[in-house]
């Protein structure tokens, strides 16, 4: 039982990261209908930037906002410079551009910082507290920071004029333009915010998975799974989906181990986590593409 609680708790912690990435993916998807395959590599690049600033002597809590802001600018410029001219391009061109971005960010991180694994110190103090047998301080920290970030984003979209304008631009670009909202600007802003959220996710997960150019590939896959489970058209759903997938991932491994112990038959364990994500992705896409909380899109023919 104790193990089960531990697994759920650490699932929640991983889920926080998946939730951030899923949210970043959804923010881009709802406004542009694009799936950002480079989201993970962008986050990885930001994590490296954060490490670099810390190496230069900044503390984590100073470096993080700086990096988030730089990532925001990178996101805005990627949208404006590279994706904007392809507004009406066929899907294949868009996908190819994203794969190109993925390749560039991946290899640039390798060129600049090398491929050896780097230690990324946890920014959270190593203290004992009630329940610290179940969950480590860094894991608690990940969940708390994620929840604060999500709360801030929610408040931003719900209560600020820019947030309202961004929602309008995503939901109905034509009407939004008619009431004087600069839809183009809003799309770029959405991209920038998504990159910033991804940056926070990358910097938070770096102490767990260690810093190297491949660190985000599997995490991105879970981010996709989370976004799909929650519904790729629903920001709140994506967050919930991220947490669900994080817990599910650990539970599957846990029950797989249990099964092996009791019957001696190995079906699934830690080595198959990506397969679990793949199965989630394909199952959701084929059986319920709108996810748990998304709305069904109706296509006019």
């Amino acid at each position: 039982m104790e193990q089960l609680i531990q697994q759920v708790a650490s699932g929640l912690a991983n889920g926080a990261i998946y939730a951030c990435l899923a949210l970043a993916l959804v923010m881009i998807f709802v406004s542009t209908d694009h799936i950002n395959f480079a989201q993970g590599e962008l986050a990885m690049f930001s994590a490296f930037l954060c490490w670099q600033f810390m190496d230069w002597g900044l503390t984590f809590w100073l470096a993080l906002p700086v990096v988030a802001f730089i990532s925001f600018l990178v996101g805005v410029s990627v949208e404006r410079v590279i994706l904007r001219p392809l507004h009406n391009a066929p899907v294949l061109s868009i996908v190819v551009v994203f794969i190109g971005l993925l390749a560039i960010f991946h290899s640039m991180a390798g060129s600049i910082w090398g491929h050896t694994i780097k230690q990324f110190p946890s920014p959270f103090p190593n203290v004992h507290f009630a329940g610290s047998g179940y969950i480590g301080p860094h894991q608690i920290g990940m969940v708390v920071v994620t929840l604060l970030l999500l709360l801030a984003l929610f408040a931003f979209f719900r209560y600020t004029p820019i947030g309202l304008a961004m929602r309008a631009a995503a939901q109905n670009p034509v009407s939004a333009r008619l009431v004087g909202i600069r839809v183009d600007m809003m799309l770029a802003l959405g991209w920038g915010l998504a990159a910033a959220v991804g940056a926070v996710a990358g910097a938070l997960v770096a102490p767990v998975v260690f810093l190297e150019p491949n660190m985000m590939a599997s995490i991105l896959l879970y981010g996709f799974a989370g976004a799909l489970v929650g519904g790729i058209s629903s920001p709140g759903g994506a967050v919930a989906g991220g947490f669900i997938v994080g817990i599910l991932e650990n539970l599957v491994a846990y029950f797989g181990n249990l099964l092996e112990k009791s019957t001696g038959i190995y079906v699934v364990g830690n080595g198959e986590k990506l397969m679990v994500a793949l199965i989630i992705v394909i199952t959701v896409l084929t059986l319920k593409p709108s996810g748990l909380f998304g709305h069904v899109t109706v296509k006019r023919v």
């Binding site: 294949l92 996908v95 390749a103 590939a217 793949l278």
Partner: protein, 338 residues
């Protein structure tokens, strides 16, 4: 017209003959090394794989970012059959083809419900998960787990005066010519036209009586078959398979090859195969040279070139090198005609 057509056909046969004989002769005369012969074989192998992806993505409009998975299946089927079951190498090619057709068809069935971005997403997930699938514990007896499988390159039969690299070049070349010939005829047939009709306007195609679901699933199977044969050939001439050589890089290489060579073009697939192997082999050296000559403080990596090439091509030459050459040729002809 008839004379021109048969003349062109003779020209094509001559060209093929030269392409087949020249490297062998060059290698016999000591002009090119066995290593170069192997590189040429690998280019042809990748050309087959890029053609496979092109059949699905270029001609049928189903975007796959996960064809490395079928490449891996083909490679592993060949390697396991040769290593564990002592089958002769040539018999593994049809078996790899059949297994990949089935695998592709089965993956194509759920993919029927997916379009555009969603299909790209599902196949992207597949590509990321491939190494873990290959390391699955119950398959370890067959696949050798993380260690992979070592093979030995087959020697030429019947006492032919060829070393194994030269012999495999002949084999790969003949297989490739056969598969391109089949693909050309397939595309020129009823099936091929329905493929393109579905890509261009699915609903119009279905009102014309094309069974969209079946055509798409079969295309997925055929596409996987091509990539699988390429994978099997790769395993045989490269003499090694391991899970970590089938990371997402393979899928991305095939996509790059298709986009650079030419989407929906047979000639473009050949160019794409050449490009993939050249970049894989020489980009490291080329990138180092580039960063030195530009006095950059960092070493550029091959993937940076991949990425920039991809994005530039989408803007400048969306039809790839083959399409660009065709447009150029058309312009020259028009100008000389006037």
């Amino acid at each position: 017209m008839g004379a021109a057509k048969s003349g062109r056909r003779i020209g094509l046969w001559l060209l093929l003959l030269i392409l087949l004989v020249a490297p062998i002769a060059g290698s016999k005369l000591g002009l090119i090394s066995n290593f170069m012969v192997l590189q040429l074989s690998l280019m042809i192998v990748y050309a087959i794989a890029v053609l496979g992806l092109n059949l699905l993505t270029g001609y049928n409009g189903q975007i796959s970012l996960g064809h490395g998975a079928f490449f891996a299946i083909g490679a592993y089927v060949a390697a396991v059959l040769i290593d564990r079951y002592d089958l002769p190498w040539w018999s593994t090619l049809p078996i790899a083809a059949a297994s990949c057709f089935v695998a592709g068809y089965l993956f194509g069935l759920p993919a029927l419900r997916l379009e555009g971005h969603y299909l790209a997403l599902a196949t992207f997930a597949l590509a990321i998960a491939v190494p873990q699938i290959l390391k699955y514990r119950h398959l370890e007896n067959l696949t050798g787990g993380v260690q992979g499988i070592n093979l030995i390159k087959p020697d030429a039969p019947f006492g032919l005066p060829l070393n194994s690299d030269q012999w495999m070049y002949v084999v790969v070349f003949v297989v490739a010519v056969f598969m391109f010939w089949v693909a050309r005829n397939l595309l020129d047939s009823r099936i091929g036209r329905s493929l393109m009709a579905i890509r261009d306007h699915a609903m119009a195609a279905s009102t014309m009586g094309i069974n969209i679901a079946q055509t798409k699933a079969i295309t997925f199977g055929i596409s996987a078959l091509y990539v699988g044969v390429a994978g099997a050939l790769h395993a045989i001439i490269f003499e090694f398979v391991a899970p970590d050589s089938f990371r997402i890089d393979v899928s991305i290489s095939l996509l790059v090859g298709m986009v650079v060579g030419g989407v929906a073009s047979l000639f473009g697939s050949v160019l794409g195969g050449v490009f993939v192997q050249v970049i894989e082999k020489y980009a490291d050296a080329g990138a180092r040279l580039l960063s030195q000559s530009l006095h950059l403080p960092i070493d550029i990596e091959p993937w940076t070139i991949y990425g920039i090439a991809l994005i530039l091509l989408v803007y400048v030459m969306p039809t790839g090198i083959a399409g660009g050459l065709a447009a150029l040729w058309g312009r020259i002809r028009r100008r000389s005609g006037n």
